[in-house]
């Protein structure tokens, strides 16, 4: 199969992204040696937003399927973490919740995805359904207050991990940091491998020209379903970890505002680069945390304007712009 031209750019950036990612993760790994306090507390949360962003980048940047409902999976993962201790089980609720959150994300996304993709529902219509998915998730979690605590939210105890005889108290910042960071790196590496695999290449083909991939004999609906299921699973897992980190979940975590914020992160960071999406989420969330104290109204306005500029002029977001700087000029403008 002959791959569309976009792939050559992907392979070009493969090694440079590896190098940048290695440096960033190394810095993150050493961070607690130099800093303490709030930074060490909050960075894991931003990284989990980053994982959520990567779940969207996989779908949108690679396969060309935009979802406005990623927060629904994220919130369901967090609720799984909160409810796990109530399920009678001999298994450690933390691991059980991680497993369940993966499954909920994968199954819900898989079912919805197959249901729609198999009928040829595409593009913008899929966006509307995912938007409705996040609204429904928010409403159901509000109304099922016996289970979820409703609008008032649910407290999630920080986990006490035990593997073998060693136990780890995640209520302290540093153990939490070193639990979440390797998972984030692991998910990043895994998703990079997925993108580089034959499966990932078919997804890129679908993004560039679905009909052509279809005519080559691939059942594109199955590939798209699998991509959405994987994306849902990753978002669910990130949500479960977010739940234990924040110790709290409430229905607005599933809502449209948060869901669409993920789209903004990914667009600004760079939808075609997983690292770009990760850093886009970390960067925008961190800036927003510090700037809202100083200028609550105008910050949101700036984010909106940057978002529009990125969509109009820098399709690849910040990461795309950087990659272009490093590659042979001049690149011909892309078509969407």
């Amino acid at each position: 199969m002959k791959y569309p031209p976009a792939l050559s750019r992907l392979s070009f950036s493969w090694y440079s992204e590896n190098a940048v990612a290695t440096v960033i993760f190394a810095v993150l790994a050493l961070l607690p040696a130099f800093l303490s306090g709030y930074v060490i507390y909050i960075v894991p949360q931003y990284l989990l937003y980053g994982v959520l962003a990567m779940s969207l980048a996989l779908l949108w940047g690679v396969a060309g399927i935009l979802s406005f409902g990623q927060a629904a999976f994220f919130a369901l993962g967090a609720y799984a973490m909160g409810l796990a201790p109530h399920w009678t089980s001999s298994v450690d609720p933390f691991y059980l919740a991680l497993l369940v959150s993966l499954l909920i994300g994968a199954v819900l996304a898989g079912v919805v995805g197959y249901f729609l993709f198999s009928a040829g529902v595409r593009d913008v219509y899929f966006v509307l359904v995912t938007l409705a998915l996040s609204i429904m998730t928010e409403q159901i979690t509000v109304s099922q207050s016996d289970i979820t605590g409703g609008y008032n939210g649910m407290f999630i105890p920080r986990a006490q991990l035990s593997f073998g005889g060693v136990s780890l108290d995640l209520s302290a910042d540093v153990p939490m940091y070193y639990t979440i960071l390797p998972i984030v790196i692991g998910i990043y590496v895994l998703l990079r491998l997925v993108v580089a695999s034959r499966f990932g290449k078919v997804l890129v083909g679908i993004r560039e020209n679905e009909d052509r991939v279809l005519s080559l004999g691939f059942r594109t609906s199955l590939y798209k379903t699998a991509a959405f299921a994987l994306s849902g699973a990753v978002a669910g897992l990130a949500g479960a970890l977010y739940g234990t980190h924040a110790s709290f979940v409430s229905p607005s975590l599933a809502g449209v505002l948060f869901s669409t914020q993920v789209v903004v992160w990914v667009a600004i960071g760079g939808r075609e680069s997983l690292l770009g999406a990760l850093l886009g989420a970390v960067g925008v969330a961190a800036l927003s945390n510090y700037l809202t104290a100083i200028t609550p109204e105008y910050w949101q306005l700036v984010v909106g304007i940057v978002f529009v500029i990125v969509i109009m002029a820098f399709r690849g977001g910040v990461a795309g712009a950087l990659i272009r700087l490093g590659s042979r000029p001049p690149m011909e403008p892309e078509r969407g």
């Binding site: 935009l66 913008v124 219509y125 966006v127 409705a132 429904m136 409403q139 109304s143 949101q300």
Partner: protein, 284 residues
């Protein structure tokens, strides 16, 4: 029987409000295929313009017309400077119109503040018929909604301009070969859709709390109204879609909680999208 009748009346009132709210989207999305995620923001702007004008002493009817014109103008600027460059890229127009929502919501907060605003009901009073009640203003809005939809239908099916626009919807290339100025027709449709959204926001404002997110209540519902009714079916589709979305919400709310009713309606809309995708599918 009385109950059935008043359920029916309620459903009709809701249907017309939903149809009015969805009309601008039915024009832009239905005729051009442009996913206007800024539709909610346009409703909100229409409501705020009405509020602002009435507080400055402008009579209500004039305020409504000003609001529609104002939002139409914003639509013109949006189309001219941004959207027209992206007509062949549906994702980009979707995201750019969402960006328009983000920016205009923040500008509304900065310009008009975040206090609860209300537009005084210009037609207080209600007619009572046994056990059911027709609020005067809502009834007038329902009639305007119906008139607008019928008028639009007549325009599309009975006038030269309408025929050109329908030709454009069916095949832009052929239409341009036939000498139709495609760019201008698109601009006209986009501005008409924006003005319709502004008008809807203005007319709805006396019934609701005017706040920066008022339009988003209708955003997803409006999309579903257009999808369920059938894209491009401005006349019948919008009414049927509104009846199915709004009316069935009323109907399900008889037997279950409101939340369940809304959820069921969303699910039904998704089912329609899946199984009756008239206009939803690309040509296979």
């Amino acid at each position: 029987m009385q109950t059935a009748l008043s359920v029916l009346v309620d459903s009709m009132l809701i249907t017309f409000v939903f149809a009015l709210a969805a009309l601008g989207l039915a024009i832009i999305f239905g005729l051009m295929g442009v996913i206007n995620m800024g539709h909610g923001a346009m409703l909100t702007l229409g409501a705020y313009f009405t509020w602002f004008a009435t507080t400055k002493g402008v009579p209500f009817v004039a305020a409504v017309l000003l609001a529609a014109a104002g939002v139409g103008l914003i639509g013109l600027l949006l189309e001219h400077f941004i959207i027209r460059h992206f007509y062949d890229r549906p994702f980009e127009t979707l995201l750019l119109t969402w960006g328009f929502f983000l920016i205009s919501t923040e500008l509304i907060k900065i310009a008009f503040g975040t206090d609860l605003r209300t537009v005084t009901n210009p037609l207080p009073g209600a007619a009572h018929f046994g056990s059911f009640v027709l609020p005067a203003y809502q009834s007038v809005v329902a009639l305007i909604s119906l008139a607008l939809i019928v008028g639009l239908g007549v325009m599309l099916y009975r006038t030269g301009l309408g025929i050109k626009i329908r030709a454009l919807v069916q095949n832009a290339e052929v239409a341009s070969l036939l000498g139709l100025n495609v760019a201008r027709a698109y601009k006209l449709v986009f501005v008409a859709g924006s003005a319709a959204a502004g008008l809807a926001g203005a007319l709805i404002s006396p019934m609701l709390s005017v706040d920066p997110y008022i339009g988003n209540i209708f955003l997803v519902r409006s999309f579903f109204v257009v999808i369920v009714g059938g894209i491009g079916q401005v006349l019948g589709g919008t009414l049927v879609g509104s009846f199915l979305i709004g009316g069935s919400e009323t109907f399900f709310a008889l037997f279950s909680g409101q939340v369940v009713a809304q959820t069921i309606v969303f699910m039904l809309a998704i089912l329609v999208l899946r199984f009756r995708p008239a206009g939803v599918l690309r040509a296979q």
